[in-house]
């Protein structure tokens, strides 16, 4: 290998880092978001290819096998999953990153346990990486429905978890101090256990915040691994990892805070709160829930001037977005003005509703966010609430309610409100919804997809 090879590799890393930053920047604005991932992708490809030519590497066959197998699985899986499964996909691929970071730390620890600085950094990277992969896998299992979504609360979990973490880290430190690789085994096992126990008590709906947190943690683990590598012969790969890792760590931390704030929660609440396990008591709602026939609902909408559709989590679970598109098209063909009211935290991940409605081909200019649409409800004839609950709950305006202060869609101010839901089920926050008992509100019971399909049918018959 000649010297210029090293120079070219260094240059590739520098350009790659630049592209990562530009890509991240581009991704934070809707117009340029797609360009951003393309930048970042090209940079990643270049960095990986360049690394192959690093002087002094061996095991090329194994590397190639690993890249092809891992890359193939990741790509195939990501292409075939349902769009609604995206949050758990992010969790799983993030977990893989954390696992890789932990494994790299493992290799460094096995091979250079006698270098205290590198070993110390690697222990830190292994701790964070292990927690990240274990937690991400639990998050995946919960969101995928392969595990109970409700918080799983074990007795005395806080002290037990803390003890496991402390003992685990102690094994790692001890193995460095004593230069004994055997202690690495309990070290890794305990930290994986900690990651699992940390995530178990978190309710499925808090998962986006937690996934974002693990995402930031993986970034930090990667950066720590990078720190440990900068002293080695292939230092510049380490710098690239430090930069990209810290970049993600910082951006991810901020994002986690922003996401939690959009849901009116705090991070510690999410991680340690086991929120959703309790229910409000003492407040009883007056009135009854009044059902309406599908045909009557269809007529009501067909003769309205303006219909606003407020979708929520139930629409996502029921995969009703395609039918909703049909409904919207039909109404528009009848001269009804149709708008969609998008609450920022409707559904189970930020931007959930936008993603689904866009997938169904509903044009972006029909989507209105909370501030835009709220003043319009007073002049709206019919609001159709599809599987939304908390985000349209007027209890948020009532002092003492668990939702108090959460910004909501003021659908109760419309002339008529139609609500599609399966039964008496509560929303994510687990509290009663005053809206359903109001005089201007009628219930359409059933699975969102089926009810909307029936509405479409009724409209077609009538028109």
């Amino acid at each position: 290998m000649t010297a210029w090879v090293g120079t070219v590799i260094d240059a590739v890393y520098v350009v790659a880092v630049l592209a990562f930053i530009l890509g991240l920047k581009a991704m934070s604005s809707p117009e340029t978001a797609r360009r951003g991932i393309v930048y970042a992708g090209a940079a990643m490809l270049a960095a990986v290819v360049a690394t192959f030519f690093s002087p002094g590497l061996s095991n090329f066959l194994l590397i190639a096998v690993g890249v092809i197998v891992g890359g193939g699985i990741g790509y195939y899986w990501a292409r075939v999953v349902q769009m609604t499964a995206m949050p758990q996909m992010v969790a799983v691929f993030n977990g893989m990153g954390g696992g890789a970071a932990a494994a790299i730390a493992g290799v460094v620890l096995l091979s250079s346990l006698n270098n205290p600085a590198d070993a110390g950094l690697s222990v830190a990277g292994a701790v964070i990486g292990s927690i990240s992969i274990a937690g991400s896998v639990i998050a995946f299992l919960k969101l995928q429905g392969w595990m109970r979504q409700k918080p799983i609360v074990l007795p005395a979990r806080q002290p037990v978890n803390l003890a496991i973490l402390v003992v685990g880290v102690a094994f790692g430190v001890y193995s460095v101090v004593r230069v004994e690789t055997i202690f690495l085994l309990p070290f890794f096992l305990l930290l994986l256990l900690y990651g699992i126990l940390l995530t178990l008590p978190i309710g499925g709906a808090d998962m986006p915040v937690v996934i974002s947190m693990f995402n930031a943690l993986t970034g930090i683990a990667v950066a720590l691994d990078g720190f440990a590598l900068v002293n080695g012969p292939l230092g510049d790969a380490g710098y690239a990892m430090v930069i990209a890792g810290v970049l993600v760590g910082a951006a991810g931390s901020l994002l986690t805070v922003l996401m939690a704030r959009a849901m009116n929660r705090s991070i510690s609440n999410v991680v340690f709160g086991a929120f959703g396990a309790t229910e409000e008591t003492g407040v009883t709602v007056q009135g009854t829930m009044k059902p309406i026939e599908v045909e009557d609902a269809a007529v009501l909408m067909a003769y309205a001037n303006q219909v606003v559709i407020a979708p929520g989590y139930g629409m996502a679970v029921a995969q009703a977005q395609g039918k909703v598109r049909e409904l919207s098209d039909l109404l528009e063909a009848k001269g009804v003005s149709v708008k969609f009211a998008i609450h920022p935290v409707a559904g189970r991940m930020p931007g959930h509703m936008n993603v689904l409605l866009a997938e169904a081909g509903i044009s972006y200019d029909k989507l209105y966010d909370r501030d835009e649409i709220n003043p319009e409800f007073a002049n709206t004839d019919v609001v159709l609430v599809i599987g939304a609950n908390d985000v349209v709950n007027p209890a948020a305006r009532r002092a003492g309610s668990p939702l108090q202060g959460m910004p909501i869609l003021d659908v109760d101010q419309a002339k008529n409100v139609l609500v599609i839901k399966r039964g008496q089920g509560k929303g994510f926050a687990g509290i009663e919804n005053d809206l359903f008992y109001k005089d201007n509100c009628r219930m359409l019971y059933g699975d969102a997809q089926q009810v909307v399909a029936k509405l479409v049918q009724a409209l077609k018959r009538s028109g």
Binding site: F20, I21, L24, M27, S28, P30, R34, I37, A47, V48, T51, G56, N59, G66, V69, G70, G71, I73, W77, A78, R79, M86, M89, N94, G97, G99, A100, A101, A103, I104, G106, S111, A117, P208, S212, N215, T218, V222, A223, G226, L229, V230, N231, G235, A237, G238, V246, L247, V248, A250, G252, S253, L254, L258, M259, P344, P350, V355, G361, D365
Partner: protein
């Protein structure tokens, strides 16, 4: 060695600011794609995994290194594909004309 760590610390501080500032005020709408995109970016761990496997000596090191490479590669390709798919949907933000 110590000098390299200090340098890496300089780099880390700057990268932290860059990451923090670049996100700035991002609309809620983009939280998920951005999470996914930054998830892809820490796929750079694959580079470290390749180095780790490339310098691995014992079979145990090689095995762990291989796990690292496989996982890192999944992070990279999966992270890219997911982000790409999510963002492809937002592309319709451009054609404000109406549904296709």
């Amino acid at each position: 060695m110590a000098a390299d760590l200090w340098t890496a610390l300089f780099i880390a501080i700057l990268a932290a600011f860059t990451g923090y500032e670049v996100i700035g005020r991002v609309p809620v709408l983009l939280h998920t794609p951005l999470m996914s995109g930054s998830n892809f970016i820490h796929g750079i761990v694959l580079v470290g995994a390749i180095v780790a496997l490339g310098i691995a000596q014992t079979p145990l090191e090689q095995a762990i290194g291989l796990v690292a490479v496989i996982m890192g590669a999944m992070n990279v390709t999966g992270g890219y594909a997911v982000t790409e798919r999510i963002l492809a949907m937002f592309d319709r933000t451009k054609r404000k004309e109406g549904p296709p």
